[in-house]
């Protein structure tokens, strides 16, 4: 329990991650403990190579920590087998990628409902409609990714991540591949889903303006969480970044 009384849905304890071994090994994470509270937008910032992506991957069960534990929705995930991890992904994890990762041969709608199809769920039509409406894609559903702009593609990706009502949504630099206007729109979408539906979200970003929309900002440097801020303005974020020498 934290000060707001919200229960953490992701709990990481003393997570370390070492790539390679011997002389050339890299310690991407060197003991990170963090609780991600439900219904809030958490931003992760830090210089390039500080371990942001690595942390995201471990929290999402994509990668295993060298040491430490991770719980998602009350379940220890670092020792799950492939089948249980698949179940975890279906039920609890949503992911938005920097490069959208849409399947080129499927239409926007098929891409969006893909997680439901994979899970063998019929899907609630009203809910799908609502999500599609939220991301503003109602008139683009039959298009293929190649016929959509970058911003539209990322909207499809967000709708796809939201459609399965994941316990936690991870987004690694979701605006990193978009111009600032389009990026702003995407950020707004993410913020709205947190506000309107209480969608727990963790987002990696390099953009102070993006971070300032978050409820909480974690600063990572050299594999450690070095600072944490709550409800900071973009000005405050920039100051902090300078302080820790980012």
């Amino acid at each position: 329990m934290n000060q707001d009384g919200k229960a953490p849905v992701v709990v990481a304890r003393d997570v370390t991650r070492r790539y390679g071994q011997g002389q050339t090994c890299v310690d991407a994470l060197r003991g990170v403990s963090v609780d991600i509270e439900s219904g809030r937008l958490t931003a992760v910032m830090g210089p390039s190579g500080s371990g942001k992506s690595t942390l995201m991957h471990i929290l999402a069960g994509l990668d295993k920590p060298t040491a430490g534990s991770v719980e998602v929705a009350g379940q220890e995930i670092t020792r799950l087998n492939d089948g249980d991890l698949t179940k975890l992904r279906r039920e609890h994890i949503g992911f938005v990628f920097q490069f959208f990762n849409l399947l080129p041969m499927l239409t926007a709608e098929e891409n969006i409902t893909l997680p439901l199809t994979l899970a063998g769920e019929k899907g609630d039509d009203a809910w799908v409609k609502e999500v599609v409406g939220d991301v503003g894609l109602s008139d683009r559903l039959t298009h293929r990714p190649a016929e959509l702009s970058g911003g539209q593609q990322q909207r499809v990706a967000i709708a796809r991540a939201l459609v399965s009502k994941p316990t936690v949504l991870f987004a690694d630099e979701p605006t990193g591949n978009l111009d600032s206007t389009t990026g702003g729109e995407i950020l707004q979408l993410i913020r709205e889903s947190v506000d309107n539906r209480g969608q727990t979200t963790v987002m990696v970003t390099h953009d102070p303006r993006a971070a300032s929309t978050a409820d909480r900002i974690l600063f990572l440097d050299d594999g450690l969480i070095v600072r944490e801020m709550h409800g900071a303005s973009s000005h405050e974020v920039i100051t902090t970044m300078e302080e820790i020498g980012v």
């Binding site: 992506s53 991957h57 994509l62 990668d63 492939d82 089948g83 698949t86 992904r89 279906r90 992911f95 990628f97 920097q98 990762n101 399947l103 080129p104 041969m105 499927l106 893909l114 997680p115 199809t117 994979l118 899970a119 796809r160 399965s164 690694d172």
Partner: protein, 855 residues
């Protein structure tokens, strides 16, 4: 998931099509084989049914034992007085006697026997007692039915040889050539045509005289009265038959007539199916390789699916469904492509002179459809298994990490060891099949097939280790000829050894097999030539025009009287029954001693003249098998039923290339006493002065009355004896070419996929100044290097397999097929060049800017 898989296939149309071709060709060969053999079988059925038109029962001469071939010269005739007795039977409505032969030679205007193709088809001759008889399957196209000294011939022969009613034609059957008048042109009433055969019909007395069957009959066709069943008819006739005749219902007779061709068709079918199987096996490699590459290129897509909650099983299923769809599609297309191939095969056989009866293609039977589809789909599925399993190992994290590759397989390091063991195990299984004594034919074939399969897979898996060193050597010319492009090509081919190896492996299989065939063939030819050179001390050999039909004894007698001829030695052959089995016996006359020089284990050259009425000689292996030594007695039963004792007077040691003699040889005199119309297979001639123009001319003059006989020098004899063999060899090459074509498409496929994968890189190369020509050249050289890798491994394996077989098989000697191997290398380079055309053009067309901006 299904939809997803199918969509994926559709979105990769070109790749899918290129992959499918591998299966289309293989399945096409299988369905084509069925279409071809079904058509031939149908045609033969009609021929045999037509030939027994109007009959309810057939009486024929009876051999003492069932001869394996329908050797007409051996089947006894029966006395024609039987006909009137048959006619008196209460159930008989009508009966008609006939004589027939397979060697009624019609002679064309140049004095040559009319034969089409290789001359394997019969020159049918038979009596037509009454043109209007219900037993006559023929109808007149022109003219009238034959009277005394007249002949009717078939429409095809007439039109091909420009023969018309009213013309004279020379005909030779048994004995001298006769000139007859063509009274009419006939065809089967049903419109049937019968391959390369010729037909000559005579009235009964003329036929009996020509066939040397005066007063005798070969068959009586019987029609029953309306109320009498076929079985009852047979029952009535049986008691009045002499010992040398038998009766069958028409249906039984048709089945008996067809049994020879049925086993031939069965053989042809298995033979051709084997090539379809090989093409499919190669196709499996192509598919496995294409799928692997496609899956590697789709790593990110598959990982994304996994991230979105797809289970391993779902990924596996999607790939399998994709393969299944591909398999079904390709197999269906292949099925129809088979029709085309069947046409092509008919043409191919026609071309080499192996003319098959063709009454139109029999469209796919159910067996054909089921077998072809099942095999095509199964092979595709099996081939997709490994790539599909690899696909399930794509980790979800590959969706987010640039350049993530497939994790190495669990036993990656053991892989090449395993592959090597597999290859060695394959060769071992093969060697077991070849060398283990006492295995049945089926077992030998099983072990050889299984071993070869294992070896191919093992070598294919291991060959990724060979790619780097081989590419260095085989790519050297490219670097010299191709400049920078050649250098890049060589490095490209070494960049992904596994992929290069899999691509090359498909070609390897085809080349292993052609090299094997070439080496064995050159072994056969070498050992045959050597044997003839060793044994044959005469100057000329007299054979039939087609090199293997029997020739009248009169021909040899005439040759013996030619000026300059000192000795003629004759060989006759036919089936006998000895030690409870049928065997081919030969018969020789004393002259043989001076034209054939045998190596004797027991006895000497003098044996030839000492055989007498009850002497025999045997070959070494036969003697050993039946424990025969000089003085042993052997009981021989002849087709006419009489059994005679023979005393062994010699045992010879045959050279690896064989001899003109069968396992048991007796004197011509003893033979002629038992065989109704004896003929020579070969006659060997010794002259004073050797092979001179004068001797050749004298022999030709002497043989003039025997248009089916020709005299050849030893060299000519050798080459004409191996002529048909070489034709068959060419068919083998053509059939194996199919699998080479499959592998060619494999190379095209890999290159297209590679170009696609290297779009950025090629764009970059273009941006820094590589010309389109250089791009094309780079792709072409990579293709050639890949082909050459496949070719060199394949040729090496082919030589290995051939050597194993040659060590084991007595009648083969090792003779390196230098020319052929060189041709194969050139062909491999050509395959490389052809395969590169399309991918190179695609690569060259890439716009440098777009290529870089790609993704």
């Amino acid at each position: 998931m299904t939809r997803f898989a199918l969509r994926g296939l559709l979105s990769r149309k070109l790749r899918t099509a290129l992959t499918a071709i591998a299966i289309v060709l293989g399945v096409g060969m299988i369905s084509g084989t069925f279409v071809l053999t079904d058509s031939i079988s149908h045609a033969f059925d009609r021929i045999f049914t037509d030939a027994r038109k109007g009959s309810d029962a057939v009486i024929s001469g009876k051999s003492a034992f069932d001869t394996s071939s329908s050797d007409a010269s051996l089947t006894p005739t029966f006395d024609e007085s039987l006909l009137s007795k048959v006619r008196q039977q209460p159930g008989v409505a009508q009966a008609e006697g006939s004589v027939s032969t397979d060697s009624a030679h019609l002679i064309d205007k140049n004095g040559k026997v009319i034969q089409f193709g290789l001359g394997g088809a019969p020159n049918l001759g038979f009596s037509i007692a009454n043109g209007k008889s219900p037993f006559n399957p023929l109808s007149l196209v022109d003219g009238t039915w034959p009277g005394p000294n007249q002949v009717v011939i078939d429409k095809e022969t007439a039109s091909k040889k420009h023969l018309e009613t009213g013309q004279d034609i020379r005909v030779q059957v048994e004995g001298p050539v006769r000139t007859l008048r063509i009274s009419g042109i006939v065809q089967f009433s049903s419109g049937l045509t019968i391959g390369g055969a010729t037909i000559a019909g005579f009235d009964l007395p003329t036929a009996q005289r020509l066939f040397a069957k005066q007063g005798r009959l070969d068959e009586i066709a019987v029609a029953a009265k309306p109320t009498v069943s076929d079985a009852e008819l047979v029952k009535q006739i049986r008691p009045i038959l002499p010992a040398d005749a038998q009766v069958r219902t028409a249906a039984q007779q048709v089945a008996k007539d067809a049994s020879d061709t049925n086993s031939f068709i069965k053989f042809l079918r298995s033979f051709l199916l084997a090539f379809g199987g090989i093409a499919l096996f190669v196709g499996a490699f192509v598919i496995a390789n294409s799928l692997s590459i496609t899956i590697a290129q789709r790593t990110r897509e598959l990982a994304t699916l996994r991230m979105l909650g797809a289970s391993r099983r779902q990924v596996l299923r999607s790939i399998i469904i994709e393969a299944l769809a591909l398999g079904i599609m390709a197999s269906v297309v292949g099925l129809f492509f088979g029709l085309l191939l069947a046409k092509g095969l008919f043409g191919l056989f026609d071309l080499i002179g192996f003319i098959l009866p063709n009454t139109g293609l029999v469209f796919l039977s159910w067996t054909a459809v089921i077998v072809a589809l099942l095999v095509g789909i199964l092979v595709t599925l099996l081939a997709s298994l490994r790539p599909a399993i690899r696909a399930t190992r794509v980790p979800p994290i590959a969706a987010v990490r640039e350049g993530a590759t497939l994790p190495p397989a669990r036993f990656a390091r053991l892989r090449s060891v395993g592959a090597a063991l597999m290859a060695v195990g394959g060769v071992a299984a093969l060697a077991y099949g070849i060398f283990k004594h006492g295995l049945g034919t089926k077992q030998v074939l099983f072990w050889m097939g299984f071993g070869t399969l294992l070896m191919f897979i093992g070598v294919a898996l291991f060959s990724s280790r060979l790619v780097r060193p081989l590419a260095r050597v085989l790519g050297w010319p490219a670097t010299k000829i191709g400049g920078a492009a050649g250098l890049l090509a060589r490095d490209n081919s070494r960049r992904n050894p596994q992929r290069t190896a899999s691509t090359a492996s498909a070609l390897m299989i085809g080349l292993t097999l052609v090299t094997l065939v070439a080496t064995l063939a050159s072994g056969v030819i070498a050992s045959f030539s050597q044997a003839v050179n060793d044994l044959f001390t005469g100057d000329y050999a007299i054979t039939a025009q087609n090199n293997f039909s029997p020739i009248p004894i009169d021909a040899a007698d005439a040759a013996a009287k030619a000026p300059g001829v000192t000795v003629v030695g004759n060989v006759r052959t036919g089936e006998i029954h000895v030690f409870g089995k049928n065997a081919f016996a030969t018969a020789v006359d004393p002259g043989m001693a001076q034209v054939i020089n045998m190596k004797w284990q027991a006895g000497s050259q003098a044996v030839f003249s000492e055989l007498g009425a009850d002497g025999a000689f045997v070959d070494k292996d036969y003697a050993k098998k039946h424990n025969l030594r000089l003085g042993s007695r052997v009981a021989v039963t002849f087709p006419n039923g009489s059994t005679r004792q023979f005393v062994i007077k010699g045992v010879f040691d045959p050279p690896s290339g064989g001899t003109p003699f069968g396992p048991v040889t007796i004197s011509a005199a003893a033979w002629d006493a038992q065989v109704p119309s004896p003929e020579n297979l070969y006659s060997f001639v010794k002259t004073s002065g050797g092979t001179t123009a004068a001797n050749q001319a004298a022999l030709e003059k002497a043989l003039k009355p025997f248009p089916n006989a020709k005299a050849q020098t030893r060299k000519k004899f050798i080459s004409s004896q191996i002529g048909p063999f070489k034709q068959i060899l060419n068919v083998l090459y053509v059939l194996l070419a199919l699998s080479v074509i499959v592998s060619l498409f494999g190379i095209v496929n890999t290159l297209v996929l590679t170009v696609f994968e290297r779009t950025r890189e090629i764009g970059m190369l273009r941006a820094i100044g590589m010309t389109r020509r250089q791009v094309r050249r780079m792709i072409r050289h990579e293709s050639i290097i890949t082909s050459l890798i496949g070719a060199s491994i394949g040729i090496a394996l082919g030589l290995l397999l051939a050597t194993l077989l040659i060590v084991r098989v007595d009648f083969l000697v090792f003779s390196f097929p230098t020319t052929q191997v060189l041709v194969f290398f050139v062909a491999a380079i050509l395959v490389g060049i052809l395969a590169a055309i399309f991918p190179a053009r695609r690569a060259a067309r890439l716009n440098p800017l777009e290529a870089i901006a790609y993704e």
